[in-house]
């Protein structure tokens, strides 16, 4: 009897969220909205990424990044948040790790802040509402 092992696995592909050798890319999700955090986490984990931490404001995001470093591959960062906004948090994360890969997440209408973030070293940005394809495309562009 033939087993599954006897067939070539033409339909199987490595999920985009995993690097060479099948290790998942590790992400820290920073957003004050429980809904957005959940949405980003679901999109990324469905593609094999591993959410290693979440934070509800920029300050907590910075602290988590330092705590996780170097076991974190990239960060998704909301812009408008209490305590410390995403731009200040980005600045401090890059101060701590100049190679940090931070992707900004913003509603439409924050173009000036997004530009500022990109000038400061953010790798990319995603505009809400979040679309699965768009999120994965932007994330993969930023980490590869």
């Amino acid at each position: 009897m033939k087993t599954k092992m006897d067939f070539p696995s033409i339909n199987e592909r490595k999920p985009d969220g995993q690097g060479d050798g099948g290790t998942p890319y590790k992400v820290l999700v920073v957003d004050d909205s429980m809904f957005v955090k959940k949405q980003i986490s679901q999109i990324l984990t469905s593609e094999g990424f591993e959410v290693v931490g979440t934070a509800g404001d920029g300050l907590e995001g910075l602290e988590k990044y330092k705590e996780l470093y170097p076991d974190v591959d990239f960060v998704t960062m909301d812009i408008t948040m209490p305590k410390m906004d995403g731009i200040s948090s980005l600045e401090k994360i890059i101060e701590f790790d100049k190679d940090a890969k931070v992707i900004m997440v913003s509603a439409l209408g924050k173009q000036d802040l997004v530009k500022k973030a990109l000038m400061m070293g953010a790798k990319n940005y995603i505009v809400k509402p979040l679309d699965r394809v768009k999120v994965l495309e932007r994330v993969l562009q930023s980490i590869k």
Partner: protein
């Protein structure tokens, strides 16, 4: 109240609702109210302050709010818990952020408050000395009223 204040909110609501809930969306008749108005079970409230001032309310029944939040989360929510409220808040956030971009392009400058969610029965809202313009938007999940009361600061 000038109708040009409400159009950006209606356009933004159409864009965002289509994107998160699908294409099945219709606009009802715009109407004006200068007295107290009943508010349905769930209302997301955003304040505006600048050279125009006032507030925007996204108002819907509890059933509609639950259906909208369920659709946006891809799972059935049976009560408007923290996740459900965060979902409706985010919806209001996305719509207002887009509307504000359009209003800024028209030369109006103002700041927004973060959205607050009101829930309850038999609520009403009264805006002193400023009329409210209301546009009902009908989606598959029910009716969402966009209720804008804004005036120029004198």
């Amino acid at each position: 109240m000038r109708v040009e204040y409400i159009n950006p909110f209606v356009e933004a609501a159409f864009d965002i609702l289509k994107e998160v809930l699908g294409d099945d969306i219709q606009r009802g008749e715009l109407y004006l109210k200068s007295t107290s108005q009943a508010v349905q079970g769930v209302a997301a409230f955003v304040g505006l302050a600048g050279n125009v001032e006032g507030r925007v309310l996204f108002d819907m029944s509890m059933e509609t709010a639950l259906a909208v939040a369920s659709e946006m989360n891809g799972e059935t929510l049976t009560e408007l818990d923290d996740l459900g409220k965060a979902t409706i808040t985010e919806l209001a956030n996305m719509i207002t952020a887009q509307a504000v971009t359009k209003l800024h392009d028209l030369g109006f400058t103002f700041d927004l408050t973060p959205p607050a969610i009101f829930t309850g029965e038999n609520m009403e809202i009264t805006d002193n000395e400023v009329e409210a313009l209301i546009v009902p938007v009908i989606v598959k999940q029910g009716k969402i009223e966009i209720n804008v009361a804004v005036r120029e600061r004198t």
